[in-house]
Amino acid sequence: MVDKRIMGKVVYGVAVVAIAGLAFTNAAASGGESSARNKLVLMAPAAPGGGWDGFAREAQQAMKSIGTVNNIQVTNIPGAGGTIGLSQFVQMTGRHDMMMVTGGVMIGAVELANSDTTLDDVELVARLADDYAALVVPAKSDIQDLDDFIEVWREDPGGTSIAGGSLGSIDHLLTGYVAQKVGIDPADTNYIAYSGGGEALTSMLSGTTVGGISGYNEVADQVEVGTLRALAISSEERLPGVDVPTFKELGVDAVMANWRGFVGAPGITEEQKQEFVEIVTEFRDSQQWRDALERNNWTDSFMVGDQFADFVDNEITVTAQIIEGLGL
């Protein structure tokens, strides 16, 4: 009965694969009611490989390296600029073993979708790392600096197409913000949305659009080899090792950070929230996290408590106002 034996093997093989698959899924989705120090789930409201996923996994590594939490899982709930993750997270009332990654993009997405669930519905824990967006043009463009660009832009806002990430992203918001600051009606701008920085990059390299706004890290190499020219960056001060002027120093007061941080579920107690803050503070000081910041070219922007709350309030106001200006 050779056939039967082989069949048995096949059935067994399928069963093993199925159970392993189940186990993976289960491990990613489950969470008990133990203390955050024992078991912590980091929810990345993005697909594996997305920006917030990378952030969550870096944080996971840093926490592991100093043993501040015993067991850390990352789970992904992707979709709609993080708003799907947010709407699920607010339903986890009182879950003191779970933090969600958040950031500027989520505020934009919430405002854009007029979502009922906002960052007001969760407990703010900390802001950890920022990066900045840059305005770039193809190297063969006649535009040499920001003044040239603004001149061309003012003359013909519609003809000066700008490529960048999806609607509501930092790239998009910055386009509207800069337009406002230089006296162009944001609703007149011609923004070409791509699903990610990588795709937007091709449109800049192919010279389809006049310019592009993208996370500086995504275009840094192209700027270095000279296929793209960076005109200005959205940071407060010049970044160390980056020879690109800021919008601010060029007379356009548009400072905007693509920040990332953590929030806790609604309904947790003050002590439980404090526990989160302590965990974050501990791993933020680790060597692993410092390496992560360097590797990803993130700027340390550590902020907790009222300072963080004020920052988020201000972000929401500014974002809402820009989105309204863009006519969305």
Binding site: F24, A80, E199, L201, S206, T209, L328
Partner: protein, 511 residues
């Protein structure tokens, strides 16, 4: 030949017993997730990522190489055997592959697929080794107008798949376009057909549609007929995986044609490997018609498996080139690989070869090793996999259902996805019941949004000036080829009709 020297160095880094073990693990894992409907290699890499943190970079890369190509070797297996492709890249090879399996040639079809995947991947990786910088130039020649031209070109080139019955084909195409419209519209942010459900804002995942339509639809179809004609459902698992010289002579040109379709598509982020696999399938179908090949569409043609499979892996190969040289992820798997590379301080992009040259060459060598291991493994597996058909129907299809649901749930842990899956599965069942072709649905889902978004981007940039669509050498060339093809096939059609009429006339006179 500086590249060869560097590549040899890469091989010397990668070829250690321990590393071979890692590539084997990666290849097994990749094949496994490839076989399972819904689970893709992106998921496998994501799950592996934390494990590889503790490995040295070479070991990690070599494992990723196994997973990366393994998924593409595996995804056609379940398609050929059970008509339920593991991933969208295997849809095109399922059509003829499953026909072959039904006629007792399962093992041969699997072997053809494995060799096709090997040849496609091998040639593509070789191209990457020697021409990576040139590839980058090609990628930057594509703007929205070029993409739109490409999408139109692909639509018409693939239309031969549709042309058996125009009305039925158009109905299927319509179903696909409706499914593709769901979600937030990228250029304007408008929400379309989401029924107010935020879970649908990102649209219906192509994985859900593929698994629902092909896997679940097939299961329902089989279940509905299991008592009516049990004999028709029985597939003979016999047959050896060895390809005769005759088979090889048939398959070789198809493998090469498929590879030729796949190579350029990996570099341009235009919907992944589905478009070239369909183009390759369409071409083979046309060639078969001209040749008067009766195998194609009836008992299953080896060429119809060979070409799309080679195209799929060739795309994956050059996609890796685009990823390394441009930092441009052209697929979900590529996107997560970027994250993995960054863990090791490798920043894919124009400076990669200068900055981390030794690691890149090790990676490229790993890709070659991965391909060889996968070929050996899959040729052995072909017989074993074919034995899967000995499992009684009801167990087998129950298993497929479980795995489909599991795979879809694993994408984003959303129960709504499962309801959508069930809905699409029912649609797939009804389409089979009324003999509507399934391929046009998937073509529409893949090409529809591409054509729409790129057309609108092109016109937004030009502020509504239509001449932008024909203003570059690439677009003009594509439209000219398209026009010539249309005229030629039109003329052929006429001649065919005339001949038919003459034939009928002569038959009448002879009687």
């Amino acid at each position: 030949m500086e590249q060869i020297m560097l590549l040899m160095e890469g091989f010397s880094q990668a070829l250690t017993p321990m590393n071979l073990l890692w590539v084997l693990i990666g290849a097994l894992l990749g094949t496994a997730v490839g076989v399972l409907p819904g689970l893709g290699s992106a998921m496998a890499v994501a799950l592996l990522l934390p494990i590889t943190f503790s490995l040295d970079p070479t070991a990690a890369f070599i494992m990723f190489a196994g997973v990366y190509y393994g998924g593409l070797f595996g995804d056609s297996t379940s398609g050929i055997l059970l008509n339920t492709p593991g991933n969208s890249s295997a849809i095109a090879s399922t059509f003829e592959g499953h026909r072959m399996a039904r006629n007792g040639l399962a093992a041969k079809a699997l072997a053809t697929a494995a060799m096709g995947a090997f040849i496609g991947g091998l040639l593509a990786t070789t191209v990457v080794v020697f021409f990576a910088p040139t590839l980058v130039k090609l990628a930057t020649a594509f703007g929205p107008a070029e993409y739109f031209a490409l999408a139109v070109f692909a639509f018409l080139a693939i239309s031969s798949v549709v042309s058996d019955s125009i009305v039925k084909g158009l109905i299927s195409l319509g179903i696909g376009l409706v499914l593709a419209l769901v979600g937030v519209d990228g250029p304007s942010g408008t929400v379309r057909y989401t029924l107010g459900l935020p879970q649908l804002f990102d649209g219906i995942s192509i994985v859900v549609i593929t698994v629902g339509l092909l896997a679940l639809g097939e299961v329902l179809h089989i279940a509905a007929r299991i008592h009516r004609d049990p004999e028709a459902l029985r597939i003979k698992p016999s047959g050896r995986p060895r390809l005769s010289r005759h088979d090889l002579r048939k398959a070789m040109p198809a493998w090469l044609r498929g590879t030729a379709f796949g190579l350029p598509f990996g570099i341009i982020p235009a919907g992944g490997s589905e478009v070239p696999t369909f183009l390759a399938y369409g071409t083979e179908k046309k060639l078969a018609k001209r040749r008067g090949d009766i195998e194609f569409g009836q008992i299953g043609s080896i060429r119809g498996v060979a070409a799309p499979e080679a195209a799929g892996n060739a795309t994956a190969g050059t996609a890796m080139g685009a990823l390394l040289a441009l930092g441009l992820p052209t697929s979900a798997t590529a996107a997560i690989m970027i994250a993995a590379f960054q863990q090791y301080g490798m920043q894919p992009g124009p400076l990669l070869f200068e900055r981390s040259g030794d690691m890149v060459w090790t990676l490229l060598a790993s890709l070659f090793i991965g391909l060889v291991i996968l070929l050996i493994m899959n040729m052995q597996f072909a017989v074993l996999w074919a034995k899967l058909l000995l499992v009684p129907r009801h167990y087998l299809y129950a298993g497929i259902t479980v795995l489909s649901v599991l795979g879809v749930y694993a994408i984003s842990a959303s129960t709504l996805d499962l309801w959508v899956l069930l809905g699409v599965g029912l649609v797939g069942f009804m389409m089979r019941r009324y003999q509507l072709p399934l391929a046009p649905v998937l073509i529409a889902v893949i090409l529809g949004p591409l054509a729409e978004t790129e057309l609108r981007r092109a016109l937004t940039v030009s502020e509504g000036d239509l001449s932008t669509l024909v203003s570059s050498p690439v677009t003009i060339t594509l439209y000219i080829i398209l026009a010539i093809t249309l005229v030629v096939s039109g003329m052929q059609h006429m001649r065919h009709r005339r001949k038919e009429r003459e034939g009928q006339a002569s038959e009448l006179t002879s009687v």
